[in-house]
C-alpha cells in the first residue's frame, strides 16, 4: 500500500492556493527546516472573514498536502471559525495521515492561527494608535 491515501496524494500533486499574498493582512510561520517541515501562511481579511489564504511550504508530501488542505478549509471562513481548525480536523479532511507524520507535518493549522494572530495584533495596534490620537 502506498504511504499516502488518494486524498493526500491529490493535495500533494495539485496543491491549492500556493504562493504569497502581496501586502498580506497577516503572516504566520511554523516549523523549521531542521525537523524537515516549514510552512508560511499569508492571509487577506475582509469583514472578519478570510478573503484569501496562500501558503509556501518546505517539507514532505504530507506537509504540502496539509498546507493545501488548511488553505482550502480556511478560505471564506470567519476568523473565529478558522481558529477552530485543528491538526485533527485537517487530518480528518485528508482522510488520514501516516501515524509517524501526524505531528511533524501537521503544522498548517498552527501556521494559519499565527497568521490570524498576527492580523489581530496589528489591528489592535492600529486601533490603539487611533485611540491615542
Amino acid at each position: 500500500m502506498p504511504i499516502y491515501n488518494d486524498k493526500v496524494m491529490d493535495h500533494f500533486m495539485n496543491p491549492r492556493n500556493v504562493g504569497e499574498i502581496e501586502n498580506p493582512d497577516g503572516v504566520g510561520e511554523e516549523g523549521n527546516p531542521i525537523c524537515g517541515d516549514m510552512m508560511t501562511f499569508y492571509i487577506k481579511v475582509k469583514d472578519d472573514r478570510l478573503e484569501d489564504v496562500k501558503f509556501r511550504t518546505f517539507g514532505c508530501g504530507a506537509a504540502i498536502a496539509v498546507s493545501s488542505m488548511v488553505s482550502e478549509m480556511a478560505k471564506g471562513k470567519t476568523l473565529d471559525e478558522a481558529m477552530k481548525i485543528t491538526p485533527q480536523s485537517v487530518a480528518q479532511e485528508l482522510e488520514g495521515l501516516p501515524k509517524n507524520k501526524f505531528h511533524c507535518s501537521n503544522l498548517g493549522a498552527q501556521a494559519l492561527h499565527k497568521a490570524i494572530e498576527d492580523y489581530l495584533s496589528k489591528k489592535k495596534g492600529l486601533t490603539k494608535d487611533k485611540g491615542e490620537k
Binding site: 504562493g19 525537523c35 517541515d37 509556501r56 511550504t57 518546505f58 514532505c60 508530501g61 504540502i64 511533524c104
Partner: protein
Amino acid sequence: MRKIYFDNAAITRTLPEVKDVMLPYLGEIVGNPSSLHEWGDLPREAVDTARAQVAALIGADNEEIIFTSGGTESNNFAVKGLALAQQNKGKHIIISAIEHFSILYSAKTLEKWGFELTQVPVDKYGIVNPDDIRKSIRKDTVLVSIMHANGEIGTIEPIKEIAEITRKNNIIFHTDAIATAGTIPVNVSDLGVDALSLAGNQFYGPVGVGALWIKKGVRIIPFFDGGIQEGGRRAGTENVPAIVGLGKAAELARIHLSERMEQLIPLRDELMEGLPHKINHVIVTGHPKHRLPGHASFCVEFIEGESMLMLLNSKGIAVSSGSACTSRALKASHVLIAMGLPHEIAQGSLLCTIGLDNNINDVEYMIDTLPPIVERLRQMSPLYAKFIKEGKGGK
C-alpha cells in the same frame, strides 16, 4: 509509463541465473546439510560450493566464511562478537561517525554492556582520516570497525591505511563491505582487515543471506548457540537456497566485476555532471572520484527530499533520500550531518544508485525529469522565496 529503478543501494534485482540455481532447493531437493544419510549430500555440497564461491570473491579461505541472514546480522555479529571475545584484554572500540546503523547501534549496545566507544569524524567528503584512528587508539582498544564504502554518499574509505595502523597496534579491524563486496574489487589480504561483512542483496543475489568473513585465528563469540553449523560459530540449519543463490551471485560478480564497473561508472558520471549542470544550487555529496561505481548522490537546496522522491515516483523514477521525512525515525541523515552539511541542506538529499538494468537513456530521462520537479517545489518553498529576496546570506 516508463519505469526506472535507481535505488540499487536499497536492494538489487535477483539475477535469473541466481534464481535458477536456487529453485531446485525450494522443493525438488530435500535434505539437511548436517544429515549423514544421502539426503544430506546434495545440500551439503551446494553449501560448500557456495562457500568457495563467496571466498573466491574476496580472496579468502573457504573455512573463514560464515553464512548469516544478511548484512545486519553480519555487522551485529562482528561488532558484538569480536568485542566480547576480547573483553578481558580491553573494552574500548572505535567506529566512524558515518557507519551504518547496524554497526552504530551494535556499538551503542556494547556501551550499555560496559564498553567505551569512540566515533572518529569524517571530512566534507565523508572520508575517515587514518590519523584520527591512530590518535583514538588506547591501551584497551580491542576493535576498530570502519565501513569500506558508505551506501548513502558512495565514498570509499582508506581501509588499507587504517589496517596498517591497527596491525601495528595489534587491534582487530572489521570492515563493513556490504556496499562494496561484489561491486568493486574486495580482497581481504589486500585490505589487510581481520573481519569483513557482505550481503547478497547488494550484488544481484537473494535477500536474507550474507556472510561474515573472519581471518583464521581471530576469535568471535557466537550469537546463536545450539548447533555445530558454520564451524560452531553460527548455529541453525543452513538456509540452503539463499546460500546457493549468494554463491552464484558472488561467482557472477567476480567474473563480471570489471565489465559491470565499466557499465556503471560512465552512467554515474553523466548523472553527477548532468544534474548540477541543469539545476542551480545542487551539491554533489560524497567524494567526486573515490566513490562506488553506480552511486550518484546530491543535495538539492531549498527543497525537501521526500517530496522530490514522490514527484519523481509519479514520473516512474525510483530514488532514495536521506531527509528526515523519508526516514522512519524522522531524523536527517547522520552521514550528511557528520560531513558538516547544515540540516536544511541535508533535507534536500537525493540518492540515485544505478544498476545493471540501467542505461544512458535512463540517466538522460532523469536529467530531463528532475529540473521541472525541483522548480515546482522551489516555487512552493519559503526557503527559496527568502533566498530570492535576500540572497544566501539572508536568514
